[in-house]
C-alpha cells in the first residue's frame, strides 16, 4: 500500500537493568492492539492510525490539586526523566505480552500537582476526535462504545511506583496504535485499564465511571486486577497465552499469576477487600 507509516523518534532514557521474561517482538507489540477508536479487529489500529496527529498535544491535569498544570507535546518527554520498564501486559482476553515501555511514574506527576485531601481517585480521558478516530464516528467501527474512553484508579493505586505514564516503547516514541503520545500502564491490572492517548487527568473525590464497566458491568469491574481465581463470565482467567515468537505451534500457555506477578508490590493495596466482589 502507499499509505505512509507514522514516524516515531528515538528517546533518551535510563535502560532497564535486567530482563526476566522473553520480550514480545516489537513487530507484534505494534500490530496486535485493542484500540477500538481505530476499529475492533486487532490489526485495525495499526492500519487506521498511521496518520494520527500527536503534535501539538495537550494533557491537562486538574481537579482536586493545588497546582493544576497543562503539558504540551514536548513537555511530555522533558518534564520528567524517562526510564525503561519491562512489564508483563495481561489482556482480559487471556493473552499477554512482555513490553519494554519508556515513561515516568504517574506518582511524579501527582507530586508536582499536589493533590488535596479530597483527591481520592484519579480519572483519565482519551482524546475525542471523530475526524481522526473512525471508531468514534461510527458505532459499528468503534464497537458500540460511548466515547471518549474513560478510566480511573484509586489515588493509592495511581501513586504506586509501578504505575507508569508511558511515552514510548522499544526505545522510541509510541506509535499511535499503542496510544501515542502518552498512555497509562498499570501492569497488575487487565490491559483495558491502561488507557491510551490521554488528554485529561483529573483528581476527583468519587469513584469515576470507566468505559468497559459501563458497557458490561458484570464482566468488567472498576479494579480489574489480574486474578486467576476470578474467571471472566465467558472464559477462564487461570492461564494465558504469552505472545512472543513462533507460529501456531508455539507452546505458549502459562499460568496467570495473582496481580500479574506483581503481588509483592501491590497486594497491600487490597488487604481488607474481597477481590471476588471488587473484581
Amino acid at each position: 500500500s502507499n499509505k505512509k507509516t507514522f514516524e516515531t523518534s528515538p528517546l533518551k532514557y535510563q535502560a532497564a537493568s535486567s530482563i526476566a521474561d522473553t520480550l514480545t517482538p516489537e513487530a507484534k507489540v505494534i500490530s496486535h492492539n485493542n484500540f477500538y477508536e481505530f476499529g475492533t479487529a486487532k490489526n485495525d489500529p495499526a492500519e487506521n492510525a498511521q496518520s494520527f496527529k500527536v503534535d501539538p498535544w495537550t494533557l491537562e491535569i486538574s481537579g482536586e490539586c493545588e497546582k493544576p498544570i497543562t503539558l504540551n507535546y514536548d513537555d511530555l518527554f522533558t518534564t520528567f526523566d524517562l526510564q525503561e520498564r519491562i512489564y508483563r501486559f495481561r489482556c482480559v482476553e487471556a493473552w499477554s505480552m512482555v513490553i519494554p515501555w519508556i515513561g515516568f511514574q504517574l506518582s511524579e506527576l501527582l507530586k508536582k500537582v499536589q493533590p488535596t485531601s479530597r483527591a481520592k481517585y484519579v480519572a483519565f480521558e482519551t482524546l475525542f476526535d471523530p475526524q481522526q478516530m473512525p471508531g468514534q464516528k461510527s458505532r459499528r467501527i468503534g464497537g458500540g462504545i460511548d466515547y471518549p474512553y474513560v478510566e480511573g484508579l484509586r489515588i493509592d493505586e495511581a501513586q504506586n511506583p509501578l504505575t507508569l505514564l508511558s511515552v514510548g516503547l522499544y526505545g522510541k516514541t509510541l506509535p499511535p496504535q499503542n496510544g501515542a503520545p502518552i498512555r497509562l500502564v498499570v501492569p497488575w491490572k487487565y490491559g483495558f485499564k491502561s488507557i491510551k492517548s490521554i488528554v485529561k487527568i483529573k483528581l476527583v473525590e468519587k469513584m469515576p465511571p470507566t468505559t468497559w464497566n459501563i458497557l458490561a458491568p458484570n464482566e468488567y469491574g472498576f479494579y480489574a486486577n489480574v486474578n486467576p481465581q476470578v474467571d471472566h463470565p465467558r472464559w477462564s482467567q487461570a492461564s494465558e497465552r504469552r505472545i512472543t515468537t513462533g507460529g501456531l505451534l508455539a507452546r505458549n500457555r502459562v499460568a496467570t499469576l495473582p496481580f500479574n506477578g506483581y503481588g509483592e508490590q501491590v497486594a497491600h493495596l487490597y488487604k481488607s477487600m474481597d477481590l471476588r466482589k471488587f473484581y
Partner: protein, 195 residues
C-alpha cells in the same frame, strides 16, 4: 454445458475454494505470518468459514425450488461436508493451539462456558449429519434420514448463537448472520409449522 458438467465444475470450484483458503490460512499461521496471534486468527477463520459454508448449503434448496435448478442439489452434500470439516478444524485448533492439549482445561471450558457448550452441541450435530451423509447409510435409514437431517437448522442456529456470544462488544456482524439465518429459515416455514 450439460448438467453433469455443471455439477463437476461447481464441485471443483467448491473444492479449490474451501481447501485453498484453509490451507493458506494454516500455512501462514504455522510460519507466524498471520498477525501477532495466529491462534486467534485460525479460530476466527475456521469458525466463520464453517458458518458461511453451512449457510451456503442452506441456500441450495430454495434456489432449486425457485429456479428449477434440480442439478444444484448434487453439490449440497459437499458444502455440508466442508462446513463440518471447517468446524472440525475449529474444534481441533481450539484444543491443540488455544488450550494446548490441557484435557482438564478443555472440559472445564466446555462445561463452564455456555457459549462454548453451545458451539460444541452444534459441532456434534454436524458430526452426526456428516457421518450419515454416505449414500449407503442414507438409503438404509429411509425416512428417518430426513428427520435426522432436519437437525441442521438447530445446528446452524446454535453456531450463530455461539458466534454472537463470543463477540466482546460490536454485535453488527453476528446480527447480520442472524438476519441471513432467519431469511433462510423462513423459506422452510412449512417444515416448522407442519406437525
Amino acid at each position: 454445458m450439460s448438467n453433469q458438467h455443471k455439477i463437476w465444475l461447481l464441485k471443483l470450484i467448491i473444492h479449490l475454494f474451501s481447501m485453498g483458503l484453509i490451507s493458506l490460512t494454516y500455512f501462514n499461521a504455522l510460519n507466524d505470518n498471520l498477525g501477532a496471534d495466529p491462534v486467534e486468527a485460525v479460530l476466527h477463520f475456521t469458525g466463520i468459514g464453517a458458518i458461511n459454508l453451512l449457510l451456503l448449503s442452506l441456500v441450495i434448496s430454495p434456489l432449486v425450488r425457485q429456479w428449477k435448478l434440480s442439478w444444484l442439489m448434487q453439490v449440497r452434500r459437499l458444502l455440508g461436508l466442508y462446513a463440518f470439516f471447517y468446524a472440525l478444524c475449529h474444534v481441533l485448533s481450539f484444543w491443540a493451539f488455544e488450550i494446548q492439549f490441557n484435557v482438564s482445561l478443555f472440559f472445564e471450558e466446555i462445561i463452564e462456558r455456555p457459549y462454548i457448550t453451545v458451539g460444541l452441541v452444534s459441532f456434534m450435530l454436524l458430526m452426526a449429519l456428516a457421518i450419515t451423509s454416505w449414500s449407503k447409510i442414507k438409503r438404509k435409514m429411509g425416512k428417518s434420514w430426513q428427520k435426522l437431517h432436519n437437525w441442521v437448522y438447530l445446528a446452524i442456529t446454535l453456531a450463530v448463537i455461539h458466534f454472537y456470544w463470543s463477540v466482546k462488544s460490536d454485535l453488527t456482524e453476528p446480527l447480520i448472520y442472524f438476519i441471513i439465518l432467519v431469511v433462510l429459515l423462513s423459506f422452510r416455514k412449512n417444515k416448522f409449522i407442519r406437525k
